[in-house]
Symmetry: C2
Subunit: 151 residues, 2 copies
DNA sequence: AATGGACAAGTTTTACAATTGTTGTCCTTT
DNA sequence: AAAGGACAACAATTGTAAAACTTGTCCATT
């Protein structure tokens, strides 16, 4: 199967990354090229480009390479199906965290801790609690005490 | 206008918070009661209960009171319309951050930094970049180099 | 022309101590 | 009953120095 591959210059032009960065990222395993020429020159696939762009944007969002690597590492644990998280997943990023959206859920890419938390639910929750406590409501006559204040 | 108000015991029963916590949160301004009796006793409104529950859930999600307070403080800056963020906004929480969803956007409750960042966009982005660089594609004949590798 | 190595400036993380915050318990006051 | 104050144990934040990481530049190699 023939696949379009990109050389150093093309990748640099398409992603805005420097050779030095590509070199370092390759060396540290952050984004490795699809393949190498016989001469040992890197060749990046289209998917590689997407991963590179993703990493670059994370970097621009003040996420350090170190953190990106850790996130990728833990993501392979949480989502074994994602072969290339950087090229596949939907992420929300602030300088401090990388949040992964996966279906209806959101969780921290680093810790895996999940917490989606719509306040609207709390309103219903409190309403229910209120109804589950009818005795309480009788034991402590709120109406009277209110009268005390608003009379 | 008559409003249902809740006393200490009721609030404790409905929220699962201790008197001590209510006292401290009141003192530090995290969640203050709707009003006080003439005797100086706190009376919480329904909205207060929702705010208390929200704060409690943030706490359970390992967000410290200190952080919650800071978030509330900066939220009043970012979203002046939200009088009671804890009772109104949709939040996504991990131990380290509080993310606020406001319409289509998501941003860090603390820094206000906004970053929603779907990878799918990057794919289109790279495709476009690719098409904007036709000269490059000609200058560096990928097909030939590929032949070198896959022949 | 592209890669790898070595050096250096700047940045990020880590580790740890000092400080500050949170909550329980007990006691006094209203 | 509820609130407030004082004390103590535990938790979180801050500050900071040491270590590790990133990236540019220059040079040698292929």
């Amino acid at each position: 199967m023939t696949q379009t591959l990109f050389n150093r210059q093309q990748v640099a032009a398409l992603t805005g990354l420097t050779s030095r960065q590509l070199s370092y990222w390759r060396k540290t395993g952050l984004v490795t090229p699809n393949s190498y020429t016989e001469g040992g020159h890197a060749r990046y696939s289209f998917t590689d480009l997407v991963a590179l762009r993703a990493a670059k944007r994370l970097l621009e969002a003040k996420v350090s390479l170190q953190r990106i690597r850790k996130c990728l590492q833990s993501l392979t644990g949480f989502l074994p199906h994602a072969n290339r998280p950087l090229a596949e997943l939907s992420l929300v990023v602030t300088g401090d965290v990388v949040l992964v959206f996966h279906g209806e859920r959101a969780f921290d890419a680093l810790s895996g801790q999940e917490w989606v938390f719509p306040i609207a639910e709390l309103v219903r929750e409190v309403e229910q609690l209120q109804q589950q406590q009818p005795q309480q409501a009788e034991l402590f006559p709120v109406a009277m005490e209110q009268a005390e204040e608003y009379a």
